[in-house]
Structure formats: C-alpha cells, structure tokens
Symmetry: C2
Subunit: 337 residues, 2 copies
Amino acid sequence: MTRDPKPPIDEAILQLLRERPSAFLSGEEISRRLKVTRTAVWKRVRGLRDLGYEIEGLRRSGYRLVRAPDLLTPAEVKPLLRTRWLGRKIHYFHTVDSTNSKAYELGLQGAEEGEVVLAESQTGGRGRLGRQWFSPPLVNLYLSIILRPMIPPQKASLLTLMAAVATGEAIQKYSGLHPLIKWPNDILLRGRKVAGLLNEIRSEMDRIHFVVLGIGVNLNMERRRFSREIRGVATSLKEEMGEAVSRKAFLRCLLEEVERWYETFLREGGDAILEVWREKAGIQGRRVNITSFGERLIGVAVDVDSDGALILETEDGKRKRILAGDVEYPRKENVDS
Amino acid sequence: MTRDPKPPIDEAILQLLRERPSAFLSGEEISRRLKVTRTAVWKRVRGLRDLGYEIEGLRRSGYRLVRAPDLLTPAEVKPLLRTRWLGRKIHYFHTVDSTNSKAYELGLQGAEEGEVVLAESQTGGRGRLGRQWFSPPLVNLYLSIILRPMIPPQKASLLTLMAAVATGEAIQKYSGLHPLIKWPNDILLRGRKVAGLLNEIRSEMDRIHFVVLGIGVNLNMERRRFSREIRGVATSLKEEMGEAVSRKAFLRCLLEEVERWYETFLREGGDAILEVWREKAGIQGRRVNITSFGERLIGVAVDVDSDGALILETEDGKRKRILAGDVEYPRKENVDS
C-alpha cells in the first residue's frame, strides 16, 4: 500500500500546530519548515478556519490550534488508524457526488487495493437499485473502499455479505448494541436502517478488475432531520445509543473490521463469512415477503447459499433461489433483540 | 434504439455517389445538397480515397464512385443489416485501442442497448485474463456490443455462453462448417481457434449496469500471418473454407444471430441457451485438463450448470464446480467433426 509521498500543506500545518498544543508558532517558522511562502501559510490557515478549525492568530506570536472540528481529513484520521493496509491512502472530499462513483473512477485509473474515498457529504449519494442515500454533511459516515480480490466474479456477492458482517461487527463493538443484517445489504437497529452497503464491480468473465465497497452509516443524524418518508424506517447510532458518536473512532473501528473480515474471506473462503452472516441475520426459518425483478414472493427463508443467494421455501413447498430483491419481514417480527 | 440523427459527411457523400453509380456528380452539387463548402467536399473525398475508396474526379464533370473497399463503415454496413435493434447505431473506428475499452467508455457515458463499436484494427486487442488478441487491419472482425439486460449479475456468465452460441451459429450458417465451442469463450474449427469472446461487466450487487460483449473472428487472416506462437492453435474462416469471406456478409449474419439468441435468452431464460451450448460444445463426458486460479485439475467434464460453471468429476470421483479457468483437451481428442 502506498502512503502519500508528501502530505498536503494543510495537513503539514496542522501537524506542526499539534506538536506544540499550548504554544504559539510563528508564521515565519511554519513558512521556513514547510518551505512555502508566508502568504501561502496565511492563506492555508484561512482555509483551515473555513473548514471549522479554530486557529488563534496573534500578530507577534503566530498561530495556535485551539480546537479541531470533527472532520475526517487524512490528517485527522491517519494517526488513529490501526489497520495495516486498508485506508493507508485516503482520498478525502468535503463534498462529492457519490463516494462510490469517485472510487469507481479511481479504480478505472488503477487505484490500488485498500484505497479509500471518504466524504463529509454527498450530493448524489446512492443506495441499491438507483435509490437515493440521504447524505447531509458532517454527521454521518460515507466511504468507499477499493478492493482487487483474485476471485471469480460469481463470488463477488460474498463481498457484500462480508461488508455487512464487518459493518455489523463495527457497530456492535462501538455501541454494544446488537445490529441485525437484513439481506442483502442493510444493517438494522431495532428494526430501523442504521447502515447500508452498495457494492459495485468491474469484471470480465473470469476475473474481477476491482470492487468498490460503498458503506454509509448514520452516526449522529437526529431522527427529526430524516425526511418524512424515511423517518419511520431509518435511525442513527446516536439515536439508539442516546449519545453522540465520535466519527473518527467509529471510522477506525469500521476500517479495522473490514480489513479483518476481508482477510478472513481471502484466507478461509466464503463459508467463514457465511457462518457469521447467518448468525447476525437470523433469517433462517423466518417468514419473509420478497420483491424480486417485479415478482412478489412469500415464504420462509431457509438459508443463504455460498453465492449469496437467498433460498426461499414458498407456500407450495417449492424452493427458490433468489439472487436479488427486497425483503420485508411481516410486521410482528420486525423487531430485533 | 436511436439512429444517428445526421450521418457524417463521409457517409452522406458516399450515399450521393451511390445513387448514380455510373454518372458523375459535380462538387458543386454535392456541396449544395449537403450544405457544406466545396473545400469540405474536396477534403472529404481525399479522406475517402485514403480509406481505399476509388473515386474518379474530373474537373468538368465532378466525382464518380468506381469501387468501394471492403470496409465496415456504417455507410457500408447499415444498408445490409437485417436486425431490428442491434447495430442500428454503430461507432466505427479505423483503428482503436480495443473495441471493448471503447464500448465500456460509451457504456459509462450512457450508450444504449444494441450500440456497437466496430474497428478495422486494434492496437491493444485483448483476450481473456489480460492476454493479447492479434488484430491486424481489414482482414478480420473486431466488434463490441453494449447490452443492458435486467438480470442479476450472477447470471451474467450466461451471456458469455449466449455469445458463444450466437457466434458459433453465425460461423456455421455462413460457412457450412461445424464449429466447436470450447468452454468458456473460444470457438474452434478443426481444433484451432477461429473466434474468441471477451465480456466485460459493470454491475452492482443486484443489477447489471451494462455488459460489453466483445467478439473477435478471424475471417480472411492467412495462417502464415499468425505469429509463430499461435500459428499452431489459430485459424481463420478463409483457411478452413478455402475461399475469401465477405466481412460485411459475415457481420450481417453475426449481428442477426446475436440479436436472435439474446432475445431467446431474455424470453426463455438460460436453459434455452444451455441446451444449444451443450450440443455445440460436446464437452459432456470428455476428459479435460483445467487450470483454474493457479490450480491444475484433471477429470471428466460432466456438464455446465445454469450459472455457466463447469462441473468436473476429478479422478477421485469428487465433483467440482469450476467458475473460471483454461481448458485443455488431451491431444488425441483435440479434433472436432
């Protein structure tokens, strides 16, 4: 994995200011140590203030970092990471159309396994099947991970299950709550969606060029800020925990889990993932209504097979393999833990 | 399907010249009818001559088309097509990196189902697994078809089988010879490769954005022009038929077969394809050596299943599902019909 060869000036300035948290650092010294003009320093400090950094400036003494905003800039995030290769290169954006689209673009340009696209907000955040993913700034997590697994394309759906397991584990470890995975790609807390996955793939017949794992997690979103249509079905970690979430701490936890489960998948194969997935989905034996390619099916979910397909036993006793669709749990069962 | 709203000037000039095959058409009249300057007419005529068109030009009388080269320009191809929607929009290139790459690019930009990329030659023609596809100008066929089927991504490999069936049928109908499909994506005549397929996919978990079906067919290539490495394993339709092939006529036949088999697939599902595929592959019960993700397997091919996977019975009697790999037939069986 590559690290950025030279951190951008913003990050370098923050690093210097952090080295001496209580003291002032003169613009002249910053300019000398970073080999940029004093005007450049002044301009970048102004830029940092626009991003929410409180930087005190005194004509004689220089600059002092008073408070950093809860941003997910590489400068803020990288020192916290405990992963070995995942997220060691982060493409950070304040606003982006969609982190998945951006990551796909980077993938086509040859981005390496483990590179991450992270944005504070998305203007065109996407869910499955072209649906929207509500992505207001600074309160949640929107990221996309580029992977290049040497597996046949037919196995790619296991990566969706893997990402669901990892996201579920991260939520559980951070909050102590018990999330439920809803086939194929949602994570629920008390029956409401707290996270969603959108994986996109570039492949040929017998190899995958790359996969983009898109993960969106509602962290500090308040229920009243959800639109009327989704308020009943969406929630955030803050709403469920009753306290604010540190986005950085959660991100660290999430990247760690994804790295761990992806390595497990590569080393031990799909069965290791499926086992945990089944446990977290608790779907076996449950009554479900499924809409799949326009068809409406009712029955009992028997299992998920090694291709990630849902095996449904319909009311006439026949078994169907469902490759894609929307699952609904009949109302009375729509509650977990 | 969309038609080009306005054919490019080249095509328009050729159309005008074809309307009066024996007579001369003055540059002035062409300029007036196409609403372009006389200099533009003169320049485009020169361009057409560079492409191999013999256009007689007399100062007083104007221009006359003497002979058209065997090019696959939309102007040459479209009047011949018998398809309803496939190839109604053709993106034509004299030389292109790879028709698949170009089609993928167009797919990302929103190209519609049935649009075709056609090139006289490729500088970076690709086969499976990043291998090269030898693509010299004007003798063969290199094309890529954009499809947008509403099927789950796991079913995409059936499109490879579909394309193999269609290409095999086109060869059989045109030549009367009996090609053999070699799993997953080659077409053989007398044990030598005459055509290859390379399908590339853009998908998310439960829908396909688009598929690019890449088809390369060796038509008039002479054996001595193949490189030493592939001379023993490659052939062309001309070599096998003993006479030159009309590229236009073959293209017409190929597009017709792809349209027909794709519609069959959408209407009747994968089984209709698999049935014909099995017949043309004659792989059931055959001894095969397979290299799959670095592993070497020997056994008897039992069947191909509804996901396009090869079912292999190894020597210890176990059955394996092979999703991707290279098949070799032990030498004595390496001959068809």
